[in-house]
Symmetry: C5
Subunit: 264 residues, 5 copies
């Protein structure tokens, strides 16, 4: 049969790939993760209850189709996976996708939703943002700049947290110098946690009902908690009209681990 | 059989139409897209999960029924289609409909929902607005007026964004001169993006829980982001009680592309 | 069979009734629509997706049961019908019911929901209000009073809009004279639209999470839009804590037209 | 069969009980309805659409199981029933339960939800409160105290309204004398409606996201509306951060009437 | 059969365990419940309606699988169970989980959701927090410190209440001394209820859209109500931007009692 043979080929491909599922081409990968002007999308999904009415075999086939798809898109995109199940209320897993163009991300997510697996997914949240050159850092004191450039620990952090932020109108009405000085106070409060909590910032105005997406990775959740407590106490925090809602909390996980939860 | 032969005819019509799916009559089209006093409706839909329980054949028939319907209404309406799937959380696609009367739009959407395809659609959002003569531009300086009339780039823009806006009561309590002066500052901030971001404004007060629908098309999403950032920083922005919620983000797509996602 | 013969009788009754579906007895009708002390209910419904799994015959029978029911209640109530489908997000149709007692309206709606048709309805919104003597008009200048009593155009208006309103606590804390003077400014702004936009006011405090339901009918939606824009600009508007949410927009339609959408 | 014979016995019991369904033991009943320190729960439910897929016989059996259950609990609790269908958006009926301990109420509601009838119920709202001695009345003038003790009309009122209230932080920061004086103004505004509108107050802080549940019974809904309008105009009203949301409106009804709606 | 024999073994294990279901190892248990640096998760669930379509036997097997699972995790976690059904609107039961690492809690909840029982669960709410050394107590007067260390009553309290709290930005902008002095007033108001209401505090900033989770156990709900009323009247209360939403109210119950509700 036509469909079955396609599936067979896909399964073969998947087996050949092994469990380190979807390596992007080295150079693109690096550029997508470090350069400004890259689009980051956080896409959180929940599996519907009907999924479990499928036979075990159907679920295995469906899951392997997803693996093939992600492999295929890893030539254009960097796709990272997170398990939210058991930590976030209405989501089971999340992808962070980095792309040169949001239309590439759309093509991937549309393809995903079109698979037999995807037809059972409920989209919990999409958040889109853009990486940019740091706006305020150039005006910071030299010592602070140096501290910000200290090498962060290399290992993969086990927890990931996504906090969307919307500033109030007063924030944007402040002149650049005032905002820089407020951000300097913010940064000083954050410095003690630089080693243990990795941060990344995405700019969202217009792309979403947000101004920023803040992304964190850490092995020390209590340090991360202390970081947020410290940030709550600086003056800039008063200008956050929305902070979280949702706060997405999960663990960094290989795709295979996540998919296996739904295959077995 | 009766039904089948109707479908056959419809399929034939569709094939003859080719992929440039639904051209409205040239003059109406032009007038509807450029004149004041035209009603614009943004209608976003999501496909329910039961759709995928239909046989492939049933889906193909259902989809071709929609093509026939849109062809039929294209003599009265301008209907443009957008793929939201993969970019907006709770919507798969959107129509922008321009009509002389909202009752015509209602007739189209009611017919759509009555098709076998439509019975599986969940209405995500309807936004209605009215095109009007620019309220403040006549009082702007001559140079700004000229800049606003500069020809925009002709090509189809790949991304479309819809942002509904509700002003606060203070805004409407300001006198016309004050509002014009605030809008002049707003317009000055927007001018650098005129070439790369196409804008269109619809007035909604009374037709919806909104005052305005702002519609954007662009190939350069980062320019669009910079435009919104610039607008966040002018004084008029403080009078936006609602900005987005939802922000609808998608790509301009021929109807055939969108329907094919649901047929296959 | 018992059930079938009942249905047969109902169908016969319906056929005899013709398409001018449910005339209330002339005098009651007039009193209910014009007197103070009458309860008005706006009841908006959405059809669930399972409805379409019924056979065409079952749908026709179910629909004719509704017609019989409304005929039966038209001796006590004035029931008007509106098509919301294609214009309002989460509703397909709406009834406006005028009654001497809300318990009569409850009896009707409970009976409706108990029919085979009603079992597939999802209640979108109920809004309840009471007609009362105009509170501020007696203190208005003579000229304004005269203008308010000018005969309105007789024809049925094609569009209907329902906007619920909740005033803020400051409004109710104002003394009567101040409120009258603010309402006089409001009324002056509305006067130019008296001819083309018909208005009716219901008082809701305590009956619902509202203070007022404002109901509009018009053939000229752009005039209606201009009316609301004019009202947004008077001082009284600042005291609206809620205005809309939802705004229900639809078209005045005979019951038969609406039911036919669900029968075919 | 075991199950069938149980049902038979239950049906027999129900038939012997007649239609005055669930009399609590006289003394407990009186104490629960009049003493301080009693817990009141308002529990509103909606029937799901699947209920109607049961056979008529299965529905009759399920309904009689509920009657038996309520009879059984009427030795500990006072359970009153209300029909919300046709008046409140998302609820079909409501129980008001008075109990010495909330754990008794929980046992009843858990048992109810465990019946074949209960498995089709969606819980719309639970509101919990506690009856307490009047806090401010002791300090009111003698004449007002007397007016408050005038005998209320004895007959059952046809309408019931439940309005949950949350005060703002400013209210609780006022000293007792100031609050008493504000409540005296509130009470004076309410006095004219004492005869026709019966009121009962429950204290909820901590038990729910509320401070108070206000419960009303009346045959004259227009008097009730005027009462709320009068209360909106006193200074104390400015301290209501939440008033309603939801406002539950229904009619006092014997349990048998309500259950019959779902049996037939 | 493979599956059936696994179930058989599980059933055997469960029978051997008896009804005191999941004792954690004594020392870990004590440390997890009393030390700072422990993660507490409140996980509330609702059973979907499809659960009741399973056969009684299938439900019994599914339920015993959960017992085995919790037994297995009780070597790492302290898992306490609460019945919310009949008291909280959208939840049937809740687990409070104490763990050294949130990833352990995630592993447990993910395993739970993967069981035949878990596939029918809808996650109502997850709340995460961290136990910490008391921040303000060290600066309190000696007498108050002593009062706070008085032994609390040992017996299990029947009711449990969870109230999430989010402070406003002003709170965090206050200096430590001011916050300590406000918390001293707060604590003084709470002291009279120390004996009858047990409290525990979790810090949530960053882990959730909250700053704190406050957890209460009491046999005297009226005392708990009076405690919250007392806390509403101190100045610190004005800094609660969110208090509740949801307030989770339930009773402390052995797992077996809760599971039996769904097995029978």
């Amino acid at each position: 049969m036509n469909v079955l043979s396609v599936v067979k080929v896909m399964l073969t491909v998947t087996l050949l790939m092994g469990s380190t599922a979807w390596p992007a081409r080295a150079m693109d990968h690096e550029a997508l993760l470090t350069q400004p002007g890259v689009y980051g999308t956080f896409a959180a999904f929940q599996m519907d209850h009907d999924w479990w009415d499928l036979t075990g075999e159907a679920r295995v086939i469906a899951v392997s189709e997803v693996k093939g798809l992600i492999e295929q898109f890893s030539y254009k995109l960097v796709i990272e996976s997170y398990l939210l199940r058991g930590l976030s209320d209405h989501a089971d897993f999340m992808f962070r996708v980095h792309a040169q163009a949001l239309s590439d991300t759309q093509q991937f997510l549309t393809s995903l939703l079109g698979t037999r697996f995807g037809r059972h997914l409920v989209v919990t949240t999409y958040l889109h943002g853009l990486t940019k050159q740091a706006a305020y850092v150039p005006g910071f004191p030299a010592q602070m700049k140096a501290a910000l450039q200290a090498p962060t620990e290399v290992e993969t952090k086990s927890y990931a947290i996504v906090i969307p932020i919307k500033k109030d109108a007063d924030w944007w009405a402040l002149d650049l110098d005032t905002r820089r000085s407020l951000m300097q106070e913010h940064t000083a409060a954050a410095l003690p946690y630089m080693q243990s909590v990795k941060r990344k910032l995405y700019h969202s105005s217009g792309l979403d009902d947000l101004d920023f997406i803040t992304y964190f990775e850490t092995e020390k959740l209590d340090d991360f908690h202390s970081l947020i407590r410290a940030l709550e106490q600086v003056k800039e925090f008063r200008h956050n009209r929305r902070f979280g809602h949702p706060t997405l909390l999960g663990t960094v996980r290989p795709l295979d681990d996540i998919l296996e939860l739904f295959a077995r």
